[in-house]
Subunit: 505 residues, 2 copies
Amino acid sequence: MLEQNVHDSGTLAVVDMGINTHQEPVVYMHKDCHICRAEGFNASTRLLLETAERQLIATLNVIENNNLSPGEIGLSNIARDSLKVVTGDPVSVSHAPIIDSLGAVRKKIHGHTLSDEEMLAIMKDVSEHRYRDIEISSFLSVCAGGRLNIDEIIGLTHAMVSCGKRLSWPGNEPIYDKHCIGGVPGNRTTPIVVAIASAAGLTIPKTSSRAITSPAGTADTLETLFNVDFQIDEMQHIVSEVGACLVWGGAVNLSPADDLMVRIERALDLDGEGQLIASVLSKKIAAGSSHVIIDIPVGDTAKVRTSTEADYLAGLFNRVGMACGIDVRCVVTDGSCPVGKGIGPVQEAHDVVAVLKGTTDAPSDLRDRALTLSANLIDLADACGLAQAATKAKEILDSGFAWDQFQRIADAQGGLKELPSAEFESVQQAHEGGVLLAIDNRRLARLAKLAGAPFCKSAGLRLHVSVGSAVNLKDPLFTLFSESSGERDYALDYYSQNMDMFAIE
Amino acid sequence: MLEQNVHDSGTLAVVDMGINTHQEPVVYMHKDCHICRAEGFNASTRLLLETAERQLIATLNVIENNNLSPGEIGLSNIARDSLKVVTGDPVSVSHAPIIDSLGAVRKKIHGHTLSDEEMLAIMKDVSEHRYRDIEISSFLSVCAGGRLNIDEIIGLTHAMVSCGKRLSWPGNEPIYDKHCIGGVPGNRTTPIVVAIASAAGLTIPKTSSRAITSPAGTADTLETLFNVDFQIDEMQHIVSEVGACLVWGGAVNLSPADDLMVRIERALDLDGEGQLIASVLSKKIAAGSSHVIIDIPVGDTAKVRTSTEADYLAGLFNRVGMACGIDVRCVVTDGSCPVGKGIGPVQEAHDVVAVLKGTTDAPSDLRDRALTLSANLIDLADACGLAQAATKAKEILDSGFAWDQFQRIADAQGGLKELPSAEFESVQQAHEGGVLLAIDNRRLARLAKLAGAPFCKSAGLRLHVSVGSAVNLKDPLFTLFSESSGERDYALDYYSQNMDMFAIE
């Protein structure tokens, strides 16, 4: 039985557990901890942790062995980082307060419309880690399926912007940006579009993300060519020098609420259009953009499957953009098959550089898409008509101006690096002859990841065939790149069981 | 870099982490684990764990210190128990397969109606721990707010029944049961109703739950009087002997899907009526009941707030009951204030025994409610009319037959125990005189929990005043019971800051 004086003992000593629980803060207390017992805490109770400077709400897991003593509180990485504490620091613990904005979530569950104020309250609490994952999931689920009206999408967009940092570019306006809603592997147009558009005189401070589930994100790819990790003031310096930047967006914290929600949306495979639009546009607004091109690929395995859907989405993007004071143009593109030849950071970087340099091995599909998007950006800026803008974009690329501009950006970001080679290469040959009808994007991406991408930069693969072309028996299909024989073997083992990811007939 | 042969190394050695993560299975792997790296696992990835006999899907947390070696896999308690493994056992690990029934959840997100087959697929996967908490949350959220139609509620009820055990009572039919949808503290009518109804000749095999957020559940209360922990065959033996039982339902596993969902509903404070009806009726059907009385208390702080709501809910209960082949009668009762005098397992047991024995200190409100519910059960059985049934119930109670029958049940369950006394008692006096207008049920329950209930059986409190009666300065308001001075002090400290939980004017 508990006999010590517990009046002033709502305080426990921190133990850094070294456990990565992703974004959900989890804390660990021993089952015999006096606070657990006295307060009636048990596994999954929500707790308020406080230090002199900071507060955090976290979920409790109860430790039933001796890895923790009753006077200690173990913290997961995100809890430790949010509270900025180390092992031994005191933390006071009590029941988490009631989160008022959850009342608005329940209102939405019951089918009511949320006001701007309610959206803001929800986003504020989400961005400050006051929601647990099941609460974020509940909110996202009842907003998906077309359950947000246009005013709610606008309110959500404004609310997301309000919860993060907001960049400004005095003297460099207007600010241009491009975004692809995703779903097509290898679609690495961003570096090319930024080079062409900024060579044409547009200011385009581009932030990109790293891969989460794919073999490479734009930031992973660019990192193999130059440094992409900059703070806001450094980013502003680069843009003032060369009119553009190509940096990783993670350090900038533009929409913390969105970052927390995207993770749950992805896990649930939710495709709420309202959430998508608010997510994309809030980041553009926070980045200080005034003119944005949105690439909407349409295809059976892309995010958007029909052109009707794409048009509807484009209409919403335009209306929300207008309400938020930014000029949005959507470009519907072909999303039926992968783009380029390389998969994995270094391999995709090779494709980007080939297109910019205009070498003979440059993938024409990647080049064409980048030109289309660049032309739209130029037209958005100059209102010169798409035909003239397309001619201008092509001239900038073919003349080498885009490659020059790309090198200027690279220099401003610390200089171009040489792309590394992979330790192990393995060419795989066609197991039969015929026409290559399709490539299973999902399994191809998995193959590249098993080979080590994106963590091993040079790992991945390079296709030697394209969908629709003839293939002879023993023609090289692709080269697999890896940095260890183990990962190579593991990937090839997977391939040997999944050779039908190349449909040859 | 990874150089070992990884072809046959999808196997890791179990480490029992002793971490209680409640119902969500969590596993822990070192960040340098070769499988993590090769498969691209990261924090929150869903994994399939396999032993020779069992499978489990669990969520990954990544360990970044040396508490785990790269060849090990740590298991939370629920993961360990589900796989039935101990430290050192081999477990093979791979990406979790896609859960097909999540397609039906997305269908519901998009506003479509779910078929019986889809409901069954969802409940099967939930009951087999294939859903993570955010997925259960998503499903519950889009089913709440009146979004399940009557056919879906019926489908959900059948699906829940299909996923658990189902009891039968050959030779003892019809089978009677009672249930209270909750929300009123101290409403411990069950033991009294079971004694009266079974003394009247009805077969009533009652299973009850333990407290989750309250200071006592019926099983916690009864456990202070006799053993309540029985397997199904023992339960059947008891019922064949004395026509009734009063056991803990936890060992019986009647609706595993519901058990997993209730936890999320409670955390989200969801009040989906469809879910409530399916939850209650599925357990009754699984328990083999043919006739059920549902107690629906109505009050400002109860689950149901208006009689209109109560009538609507009663209508749904009747229709779903009819479709599922059981006879359901709803009894709408007063839920405006707490029932009885005791709060906490032993204190509530005292009230139950006092009513059964007919002692002078028996709380009349508890007695009246138990008689009303018993009369309804008897009328449901005999169709004798409520007035005659009420007379019969009162006779059984007043004559001592009910107390005799209660003792027979106790004997069949191992014999009546003496109720323990608390080590520490502290009488709290009124801090002012006047009329007691209200008691804050929520804070009163919290006070009892701080004193140690329900884990310390004798902890809790006993009210010496009732709402509506006059109170003089220094009149005893309540006695606090605890098993340690620490818990007593902690509770009294809370009370000293919350004396206005008794509204005296």
